[in-house]
Amino acid sequence: MATDPPATPSNPTRRAFLRTTGTTAAAAIVAGRAPAQPTVTPSESAPAGAHTDGLNNQGAVPITLRINGEDRSLKVDPRTTLLDCLRETVALTGTKKGCDHGQCGACTVHVDGRRVNSCLSLALMHDGAEITTIEGLGTPGALHPMQEAFVACDGYQCGYCTSGQIMSAVALLQEPCGPGDADVQELMSGNICRCGAYPNIVAAIQQVRNGA
């Protein structure tokens, strides 16, 4: 799943749905005070997935990131974090913005195979690097074993922290980590889950580690 699939009437995507209903709701409010006017929703005025790549930004700097195995030549404002670059410039929205200050782990991605908080890193610092996001881990038809384990163990409730949890968990498999649940808990402490799915997250990781 490289990007959001295109929205069609029979297959509305969540993002297109939110865009349309948000605009419609706003139009309804306006309509209450003024004569109804034809409204143009963003999804109609611009094709879904057509995001600015920063080309018009003054002072934008060219970089190349290898994202999920694909080279992407981009232009970014120097202030752009790796997180915002992935979500806004490349339109890979699987990586989530939680606290935006390195305190929650929702933005966890792999840079050259190591897990990092993409919110505390500038995209420019990673020119030429290999970035892996949740979209590069598995596909709906062929999930990564860790994704399968999270499903099997019910390792989430609302799902907002889940992509960060899974990216952390996959990186953990390559790191020095003792065998116990407490060892996993310690190395997963940088990923906060406010639903409290922690026991099931630990179970999912242990299931993969134990090859169950």
Partner: protein
């Protein structure tokens, strides 16, 4: 976040020459070196740091861990905290450093944060991080609301009327006990700074945290050759089991010979305005029988000058028990 120019110097010499034109290497710097970014980018988002230029030092050849000529260890400035903590020589000879690093932050942050960056980690005082509030460290002369405000996590040692901000680093506490040396390349050439002289007390100028001058680039840190036979312990006490700053911590190197303490190094975290080496505790314990009463005496000596604030009086006893327990663990 304010706009800035992003510069990638070709070598350390270019980095130093560029940085030497800056107005200061302290709070308010218009030029900053960036490595991991875990402190700097965070503070730039808060507009606490507003550098006009960022020098990316990640591609400079400063990322190696090597044996030093004197039998010690040489640690490059951009060695990541996770690589340092898991290095075989560090785990074997400088276990307190490995333990301290792994007790701090999260796995993700340790993968990003660097040795030099951790030396320069900034306080977590809420007033420093909030530009809507006065703070003598951020805005010299604006006042210190922490002294009458939220100060539960702040310092009880080394404070001044101007600032009570605590140093948050775990790595630095271990390095203080290990008597590390910080090597700097500056506009006038290289120099070596003993760990205990690197961080300065807030005094009248809390905006000044280290002895670094414009142009100074930390290139590496050296550790002296390992003290054979010494046991090393880092004990960290905090509000939750992981991923939290220390309320009190202790780094201890201890050698016991014929029941007496023949060698001891002690540093404390979470309680000082800088990583807190306690020479008082060391001298109280050296030559004494290694027992709990003497460990407690050493802890009393370490806290003799403690000056608790309105919300952090508990830290005095907590730090004493932390150090006593760390020494007991090292002695067994």
């Amino acid at each position: 976040m304010h706009t800035f120019e992003f510069i990638r110097p070709a070598d350390p010499e270019e980095a130093v020459a560029t940085a030497a034109r800056a107005n200061t290497a302290q709070q308010g710097a218009d030029l900053r070196f960036v490595a991991g970014g875990t402190t700097l980018i965070d503070l730039m988002k808060l507009n606490v740091e507003t550098p006009a230029r960022l020098l990316d030092i990640n591609r400079l050849p400063l990322d190696q861990i090597e044996a030093a000529a004197d039998g010690g260890l040489k640690i490059g400035a951009t060695v990541r905290n996770s690589n340092l903590a898991n290095h075989p020589a560090v785990k074997r000879d400088y276990a307190v450093l490995s333990q301290a690093i792994l007790a701090g932050a999260s796995a993700q942050l340790r993968n990003m944060a660097t040795t030099a960056g951790n030396l320069l980690q900034r306080t977590r005082c809420v007033y420093f991080r909030d530009t809507a509030m006065p703070c003598n460290k951020r805005e010299p002369g604006s006042g210190c609301p922490a002294i009458t405000g939220f100060n539960r996590s702040l310092a009880i040692l080394g404070t001044s009327e101007r600032c009570i901000a605590s140093n948050p680093s775990d790595m630095c506490v271990a390095m203080a006990a290990l008597e590390a040396t910080i090597h700097v390349q500056g506009a006038n050439g290289p120099r070596a700074i003993p760990f205990g002289e690197f961080h300065v007390l807030p005094g009248e100028t809390p905006e000044r945290e280290t002895v670094l001058e414009p142009g100074d680039l930390i290139t590496h840190v050296t550790l002296p050759s390992p003290v054979l036979g010494s046991k090393q312990v880092y004990l960290k006490l905090r509000d939750r089991a992981s991923y939290e700053f220390a309320l009190a911590s202790a780094a201890v190197l201890l050698t016991v010979a014929a029941g007496n303490v023949s060698y001891v190094r002690i540093a404390l975290g979470g309680v000082g305005t800088r990583p807190w080496r306690s020479l008082e505790a060391e001298s109280a314990l050296t030559g004494q029988p290694a027992n709990e009463a003497n460990f407690r005496n050493a802890a009393e000596a370490a806290m003799r000058d403690a000056k608790p604030q309105s919300e952090n009086g508990f830290k005095v006893e907590l730090a004493k028990r932390c150090l006593t327990h760390a020494l007991k663990t090292a002695a067994t």
